[in-house]
C-alpha cells in the first residue's frame, strides 16, 4: 500500500513529474499576506468587545473598522473583500451596536440563497449569545415553521431572508410587519455580486418595492452591502439601492500561501490541435489529491459535467475511501441534500466535492486545501471566487485551472498575464427591462396604490400605469392607481429564471414510490429533459420516459448506460426594430429588438470514455419564441462577391464560434445568457450578419453592452485566432476545422475592423 503524501510532497512530486510538468503553462505562487489591524473603535459597545475578545480577537481588520465608522455616520456602504476575510463583521458590528443602543431597532439581512442565510443565522446566534444580549434574530423563509412566523414578524430584531421570500411573502403581506418596517434601520445585502443579469434586475426592483413600503411606514433604512471582487461594486450597489454608496475596499485580512497552476491538457492530434479532454485531466488530478486524503473541490461548468465527473470519481475511489466520501453539489438537488453535503464537508466526512458554480457563493464548507477548476469559469471574478474555496487564512493551498479546448480557455491558459493583470469584470443589471419593470410595478401596485406623479425608484412609470389601466389590471380614479385584479401578482413572477415555471423531475423507477428528485427551468428542459434524454442526478443515470411539456413534468426512470445525450437547438432570428446603428467602412454595427424562435431538433448519444457518437433521435417539442434585444454586425453584400458565398458562410460560422466565447467576457454573464448566431442572408437586410442576443425576454442590457464594446471584442477575437497554434481552425478557435475556416474568419474580422477586403 502506498503511503499517503502531504500537500507539499505532492507539489514537489508534480514539479518533478515530466508528463505533468510539460502541461504546466504557468505556476504562480501568491505569497502570504500579513494582517492589517486597528484597535476597536471607541464607541464600540463593551459587550461586543467582550464577545470578540472572548474569541481571541483583540482588534479589527482595517476594512471592518472602516465599514463600522461609515455605517455609524449614516452612510450607505459596499465592502469588497475576498473570501474568508471576516466580511460579515462589516455588517454585524454596526447592526449589533445599534441594537445595544436601541432594542426596538430592526435589520433585514438578505442572502441570495437559503443555505447562506442558515449559515449566517448560526454565526449570528453564537455572537449574540457571547455578547449576552437579548437580540432576537431568525431566518424567515420557506422552511420557517408557521407557528414561529408570527413571532419573527412581530419581534425579530434581525430577520434573515432571501430576495425571493421578500418578493413573494414579505412585501405582499407588509401589513403583518408594521412594527418591523416602522423600525427598520439597516438592510444588509451580502454577496452583492450575485445580483447581476436577470436576477439582479429583478432584485433591484424588489428593493424599489421595499423602499416604497419603508417610506409608507416612515422609515428610511441604511444599506450595508458586501461583495466579492468585481470591477464595479459601487456602481452595482448604487444601481441596486438607488442611493449614494461609499466603497470600502481596504482589506486587512491575512491570507496563506497559494499555488495557482495553469494546466493545459496535452495535444493528442497535432493537425487538428485537439487536446485531451479537460474533464479527464481534471479527474486525474483530483484523484491524485483525493487518494492522499486531501480535501479537494472540483468545479465543473455544467450540471451534466458535474454528474459525469462524480460518476468517474466515485467509481475510482469506491474501493479506497467509500463512495459517499465524494459528493456532487449543484442546483436541482433538494435543499436537505445540500445541507447534508455542506455539513459533511465541514466535518471532514466528505473529502471530495464536485460542484457547479453553486459553491462559488459563501456557503460555509470550511477550508479545503485544493481546488481543481475544469475549464475557465468564464470570468476573472468567478475564477477568483472558485479559487477562494481552497485555503483560507493560513496554510498552503493549491488551485489548478485545467483548460478546455474552447477558444476562450485556450486564450486564457496561454496568456496568464491576461488573467492575473486584468481587473475583474463588471456586473451589469438593467432594472428598467420593460418586462421586469412592469412585473414589479404590478406587485408594487398590489402592495400600495400609486399616485399621480409617483416614480418607481428612478423609473418613470406614468405611461406604464396607463397601459395597465387599459388592460384592466389597475383601476385609475382620483389621481390614484389601484390594483384591481383577482390574482396575486408575485406568484406569477420568479426572480431567478427566464421562463416562469420550472419542470418538475419525477423518478418513477419504483412503482408506488414515485418521488420528485429535482426541477429545471423550462428552456433548459428542452435540451436536457426531452424524451429519451439521459439525465444525471447525484451520479445516478436516469432516462426520461416522457416530458409532459404542458404539465411541466418529466418522468424519469433509473438506467445504467455508457453514454450521455446532447441536444441541438435550431434558432431563427428576425429584426423588429433598429434602435442604434453606426458604420465602420463597409460594415454596419447595430443594436435593436429581435424575435428569436428556438426549437430543439435532434439529440445525439455520446459514449462516456471515447466521446464518440453512437446514435441519435428526433425531439418533438413546441417552438419557443423570445422577444429580446440584440447587437449585430452586417457585412456588405459585396463581400459575398469578393470572397465567395460558401466561404463567407464558413467564415461567419467560425467568427460566431469565437464571439460566442469572447463576448460574454466583456459583459460578465454566463455563456448561456448571451447567444450568437450567424446568418448568411439576414432576413431584414439580406446581408451576411452575426447576431448576439440576450437570452431573456426584453433583454437585460448584455447586447447593448456588446454594441458599445464591439471594437474591443473584435480586436480580442482576432488576437485569439492569431495566437491559436492550429493550422486552419480547431475547436479552440473557429470551431470544427474546415478548409480555410480560420483564414476566412480572420478576413471577416479585418473587414469588420475597417480593413480592406483584399488583404487575405
Amino acid at each position: 500500500m502506498k503511503i499517503k503524501m502531504d500537500l507539499a510532497k505532492i507539489l514537489e512530486n508534480l514539479k518533478q513529474d515530466e508528463r505533468f510538468r510539460a502541461n504546466i503553462e504557468h505556476w504562480k505562487v501568491i505569497p502570504p499576506r500579513e494582517a492589517a489591524t486597528v484597535p476597536f473603535p471607541d464607541d464600540l459597545d463593551p459587550r461586543i468587545r467582550g464577545a470578540l475578545a472572548g474569541r481571541g480577537i483583540p482588534s479589527l481588520y482595517t476594512h471592518q473598522e472602516t465599514s463600522f465608522r461609515h455605517a455609524r455616520e449614516g452612510k450607505h456602504i459596499v465592502a469588497v473583500t475576498p473570501t474568508a476575510s471576516g466580511k460579515s463583521m462589516c455588517y454585524h458590528l454596526p447592526v449589533l451596536q445599534t441594537l445595544t443602543e436601541n432594542p426596538e431597532a430592526r435589520a433585514l439581512y438578505l442572502f441570495p440563497t437559503k443555505a447562506l442565510a442558515q449559515d449566517q443565522k448560526s454565526e449570528l446566534h453564537e455572537l449574540i449569545d457571547e455578547m449576552g444580549l437579548s437580540i432576537k434574530s431568525d431566518t424567515y423563509d420557506g422552511d420557517t415553521p408557521a407557528q414561529i412566523r408570527q413571532t419573527i414578524r412581530k419581534a425579530g430584531n434581525i430577520v434573515i431572508t432571501n430576495p425571493d421570500m421578500l418578493h413573494s411573502a414579505i412585501l405582499p403581506h407588509h401589513t403583518k410587519w408594521v412594527s418591523f418596517f416602522e423600525h427598520l434601520k439597516y438592510i444588509v445585502i451580502d454577496e452583492l455580486h450575485t445580483y447581476r443579469g436577470v436576477f439582479g434586475s429583478h432584485v433591484a426592483n424588489v428593493i424599489r418595492r421595499l423602499k416604497r413600503i419603508c417610506a409608507f411606514y416612515g422609515s428610511s433604512p441604511q444599506f450595508i452591502c458586501t461583495s466579492a471582487t468585481i470591477a464595479n461594486p459601487r456602481e452595482l450597489a448604487e444601481q441596486l439601492t438607488e442611493e449614494n454608496v461609499v466603497l470600502v475596499d481596504n482589506n486587512g485580512a491575512p491570507a496563506g500561501k497559494k499555488h495557482f497552476i495553469f494546466y493545459n491538457p496535452p495535444v493528442v492530434n497535432k493537425q487538428l490541435n485537439i487536446r485531451r479532454s479537460s474533464t479527464l485531466e481534471a479527474r486525474d488530478i483530483t484523484e491524485l489529491f483525493l487518494t492522499n486524503g486531501i480535501q479537494t473541490i472540483l468545479f465543473a461548468r455544467s450540471r451534466v459535467r458535474v454528474e459525469i465527473l462524480l460518476k468517474y470519481l466515485q467509481e475510482l475511489i469506491k474501493r479506497k475511501l467509500g463512495e459517499k466520501t465524494i459528493q456532487g453539489y449543484r442546483g436541482g438537488y433538494l435543499p436537505s441534500q445540500r445541507r447534508a453535503i455542506e455539513k459533511g464537508l465541514r466535518q471532514g466526512d466528505i473529502i471530495g466535492v464536485v460542484s457547479t458554480n453553486a459553491l462559488e457563493l459563501g456557503v460555509d464548507i470550511g477550508q479545503l486545501q485544493v481546488c481543481v477548476i475544469t475549464g475557465y469559469p468564464g470570468s476573472v471574478a468567478s475564477t477568483w471566487q472558485q479559487a477562494g474555496r481552497a485555503g483560507r487564512r493560513q496554510g498552503e493551498s493549491v488551485v489548478v485551472l485545467v483548460g478546455s479546448s474552447t477558444p476562450l480557455d485556450q486564450y486564457v491558459i496561454q496568456h496568464p498575464e491576461y488573467f492575473f493583470e486584468r481587473s475583474p469584470e463588471s456586473a451589469r443589471i438593467n432594472p428598467d427591462n420593460l418586462i421586469i419593470l412592469v412585473d414589479h410595478i404590478k406587485c408594487a401596485a398590489y402592495e400600495l396604490p400609486f399616485s399621480k406623479g409617483d416614480r418607481f425608484g428612478r423609473a418613470e412609470i406614468m405611461e406604464i400605469l396607463e397601459f395597465l389601466t387599459e388592460e384592466q389590471i389597475l383601476h385609475h380614479a382620483k389621481g390614484k392607481w389601484f390594483w384591481m385584479n383577482d390574482s396575486f401578482p408575485a406568484h406569477n413572477i420568479s426572480l431567478r429564471s427566464a421562463s416562469q415555471e420550472n419542470v418538475v423531475i419525477i423518478d418513477i423507477s419504483e412503482r408506488g414510490n414515485e418521488r420528485v428528485i429535482g426541477e429545471m427551468d423550462r428552456f433548459s428542459s428542452m435540451t436536457l429533459l426531452h424524451d429519451e434524454a439521459i439525465y444525471l442526478h447525484q451520479g445516478t443515470q436516469y432516462q426520461v420516459e416522457k416530458l409532459d411539456y404542458e404539465e411541466k413534468k418529466a418522468y424519469v426512470r433509473e438506467v445504467q448506460v455508457d453514454y450521455y445525450t446532447d441536444a441541438n437547438l435550431a434558432v431563427q432570428l428576425r429584426v423588429l426594430e433598429e434602435d442604434q446603428t453606426r458604420r465602420a467602412a463597409e460594415t454596419e454595427f447595430a443594436y435593436g429588438e429581435v424575435t428569436v424562435n428556438a426549437m430543439a431538433t435532434i439529440f445525439k448519444k455520446i459514449k462516456f470514455e471515447t466521446h464518440e457518437n453512437i446514435g441519435s433521435g428526433p425531439i418533438h417539442l413546441p417552438e419557443e419564441e423570445l422577444h429580446t434585444n440584440a447587437a449585430w454586425l452586417s457585412f456588405s453584400e459585396q463581400v459575398l462577391d469578393v470572397v465567395g458565398k460558401s466561404e463567407v458562410e464558413r467564415g461567419l460560422v467560425g467568427l460566431a464560434h469565437v464571439l460566442q466565447h469572447v463576448a460574454p467576457l466583456f459583459v460578465m454573464c454566463d455563456r448561456m445568457d448571451l447567444h450568437v448566431i450567424p446568418q448568411r442572408k439576414a432576413i431584414h437586410s439580406g446581408a451576411p450578419t452575426i447576431f448576439l442576443y440576450d437570452r431573456y425576454p426584453g433583454g437585460i442590457g448584455l447586447s447593448e453592452q456588446v454594441y458599445k464594446e464591439m471594437d474591443t471584442i473584435l480586436a480580442r477575437a482576432e488576437e485569439l485566432i492569431l495566437s491559436c497554434p492550429c493550422e486552419s481552425g480547431c475547436p479552440s478557435c473557429v470551431g470544427a476545422a474546415e478548409d480555410g475556416g480560420k483564414e476566412l474568419a480572420l478576413t471577416l474580422l479585418r473587414v469588420a475592423q475597417g480593413g480592406s477586403l483584399h488583404v487575405s
Binding site: 402592495e447 380614479a477 389601484f482 408506488g512
Partner: protein, 482 residues
C-alpha cells in the same frame, strides 16, 4: 421605439393577469341587469325541502330602507346628486354614507323575525341562546351569556381569493337581530379611494356588537379586514376586539365526509333547506366589481349584494342548526346517526367525554352501521376516564363478536394490559394482533412506514423480553382492578 409601442409588443408577457376572455367581463349593463331578479321581487325563494311544509313567503317585501344607518349624515342634496344611478341605488335599498369628500353606499334590508330562512325562523335564535344558557357547559359555539343583539353575522366580498395586502374588501355585510326585525346591512365600497369611509361606516354601525359569527372568517375575512384597515390606520378608529364564532370549523366536523365540499351554498342546500335562485356565485364577485368600477351601475353588482345578503342570513340559520345538533339532548331536532356520531367526536376532541358518551351511546344502541365505531369510541372514552376495565370490556366484547378492531385500538389494549392490568400475555397477544392488522393495511395501501413498523416490533420484542424474565405464577393479574 416609443414606450407605448414597446408595451404593446410585449403585451403577452406583461398582462398575464388581464381577463382571459373579454366576454366574461360584463360590459353590457342591460345584459347584466337581465340576469338579476327585478328589485321588487323577494330577494330569495323560501325553503321548500322535502319533509317540510313549503312555507309560503308570507312577508315577501322586506321593509327596505326604513331605517338609515344611524349616523350616516345624508347631509347634502348636492352630494347625493353627484352619485351616479342614485335612483337605482334607492331601489336596492341603499343610501350613501359620507365622510370628508368620500362616500360609500350602505344598503339595508329588514326582515321580521318570524320569517323563515330554510328550516328555521330567525326568531329561533332566541331559543338557541336560551338552550346554551341551560346547557351550562363550555363550548366554542356556546352563546351562553350573550344576548341576540351581541351577535354580528358577518361576511365580506373581496377582489381576490388570496390573502394579501392588495386584496381589497369591497363589501362588508352583516345581519343582526334588532327587536322584532333582522337587519341586513351592507357597506359597499363605491370607489377604491373611499376605503376610509367604508371602515368608518362599518365601525359606527357595529360598535355595540361583541361577537362575529362567520364562515371561515377567522382565517380569511377578518384578517383581510385587518390588513386593509392597517393601511388606513391613521384615518380610521381601531377595530374592536370581537369575539368570534367561525361556523366553518363546526360544519367541517359534522359534514366533511358527507358532502363533496363544505361550501356554504352546498350546506344551505343539503342541510339548511335554503334554496338560492339566480345566485351570482362568489367567485364571480371580483369580476362584477371590476365591471361596476367601469360602469358605476349598481345593477352590475346587485347580484353580488344579494349573494352576500343570503350569506349573512344563512349564517343565522346555520348557527341555529349547528347549536341544535350539538344540544340535541336539549332540543328537538332532526339529527342523523352520522351527525350524532360526529357530534360525539367533537365533544370527545374537546375533552368532554361525558357528552361524547351520550352521543355515542345513542348511536351504539341503534342499528346504524356506525354502531360498532360508536362502541369502539365509547371504549376510548372509558379509557380517557381511566376506567380501564370498562374500556377493555367494551373492546374485547366487540372483538369477540367479530368486529374488526383498528390497529391503534389493539395497541391501546396492549398498553392497558401491559401497564394497568399487568397481563403481559394478553398484552403481547393484542400487540401482535395490532401488528398483523397494520401489516394487512400497509399491504393494501402499499404504504409502509419504517418508523411505524419499528414501533410495533419494538413493543412486541419488549413484551416478549418481559415475559421471559418475569414469567412466574405469582403475577398480580388484575392489578387490584377487579
Amino acid at each position: 421605439m416609443s414606450l407605448k409601442s414597446k408595451l404593446n409588443r410585449f403585451k403577452e408577457h406583461l398582462t398575464k393577469e388581464a381577463p382571459q376572455q373579454q366576454g366574461s367581463r360584463v360590459k353590457d349593463t342591460g345584459r347584466a341587469g337581465g340576469t338579476l331578479e327585478p328589485a321588487s321581487s323577494g330577494p330569495f325563494e323560501p325553503a321548500s325541502s322535502a319533509g317540510q311544509e313549503p312555507t309560503p313567503f308570507s312577508a315577501p317585501q322586506p321593509a327596505r330602507g326604513t331605517a338609515q344607518p344611524d349616523s350616516a349624515p345624508v347631509n347634502s342634496q348636492a352630494n347625493m346628486e353627484e352619485i351616479p344611478f342614485m335612483d337605482k341605488w334607492m331601489e336596492l335599498g341603499a343610501k350613501p354614507y359620507f365622510w370628508e369628500d368620500e362616500h360609500v353606499m350602505v344598503r339595508e334590508v329588514r326582515y321580521p323575525i318570524s320569517q323563515r330562512h330554510g328550516h328555521y325562523a330567525f326568531a329561533g335564535l332566541y331559543e338557541t341562546i336560551a338552550a346554551w344558557e341551560r346547557a351550562g357547559f363550555e363550548h366554542p359555539l356556546s352563546a351562553s351569556g350573550r344576548s341576540v343583539e351581541d351577535l354580528l353575522f358577518f361576511d365580506t366580498e373581496t377582489t381576490g381569493l388570496h390573502g394579501g395586502t392588495g386584496n381589497t374588501v369591497f363589501l362588508l355585510g352583516h345581519s343582526r337581530m334588532d327587536g322584532e326585525s333582522v337587519i341586513v346591512r351592507q357597506h359597499f365600497l363605491a370607489a377604491p379611494y373611499s376605503e376610509a369611509a367604508l371602515y368608518r361606516s362599518f365601525l359606527e354601525d357595529s360598535q355595540t356588537a361583541t361577537h362575529l359569527v362567520t364562515y371561515n372568517g377567522k382565517s380569511f375575512d377578518w384578517p383581510q379586514v385587518k390588513t386593509r384597515h392597517t393601511l388606513l390606520r391613521d384615518l380610521v378608529p381601531r377595530l374592536p376586539a370581537f369575539g368570534h364564532y367561525d361556523l366553518l370549523h363546526g360544519a367541517r366536523r359534522l359534514w366533511r365526509e358527507d358532502l363533496e365540499s363544505c361550501r356554504l351554498s352546498l350546506i344551505e342546500r343539503e342541510k339548511l333547506g335554503v334554496v338560492r335562485e339566480d345566485d351570482v356565485p362568489g367567485y364571480l364577485a371580483p369580476i362584477r366589481y371590476f365591471d361596476y368600477l367601469t360602469d358605476k351601475n349598481p345593477d352590475t353588482v346587485a347580484g353580488v349584494l344579494r349573494h352576500n345578503e343570503i350569506d349573512v342570513l344563512s349564517l343565522i340559520t346555520l348557527y341555529i342548526h349547528l347549536s341544535a345538533l350539538l344540544l340535541s339532548h336539549e332540543q328537538q331536532v332532526d339529527i342523523s346517526e352520522e351527525e350524532r356520531f360526529k357530534v360525539g367526536r367533537w365533544y370527545e376532541a374537546l375533552g368532554d367525554t361525558e357528552r361524547a358518551m351520550q352521543a355515542y351511546r345513542l348511536v351504539a344502541d341503534s342499528v346504524h352501521p356506525l354502531r360498532d365505531k360508536a362502541r369502539i369510541a365509547m371504549g376510548s372514552c372509558y379509557k380517557r376516564q381511566k376506567d380501564w376495565r370498562r374500556a377493555l370490556l367494551v373492546w374485547e366484547g366487540l372483538g369477540n363478536s367479530g368486529v374488526t378492531l383498528p390497529e391503534d385500538v389493539l395497541i391501546e389494549m396492549a398498553k392497558l394490559y401491559e401497564h394497568q392490568v399487568k397481563d403481559l400475555e394478553k398484552a403481547l397477544l393484542f400487540a401482535e394482533a395490532g401488528y398483523d392488522r397494520w401489516k394487512q393495511k400497509a399491504a393494501l395501501l402499499r404504504r409502509r412506514s419504517k418508523a411505524e413498523e419499528a414501533a410495533y416490533r419494538k413493543r412486541i420484542e419488549r413484551l416478549e423480553q418481559k415475559l421471559r424474565t418475569q414469567a412466574g405464577p405469582d403475577l398480580d393479574y388484575g392489578g387490584g382492578l377487579v
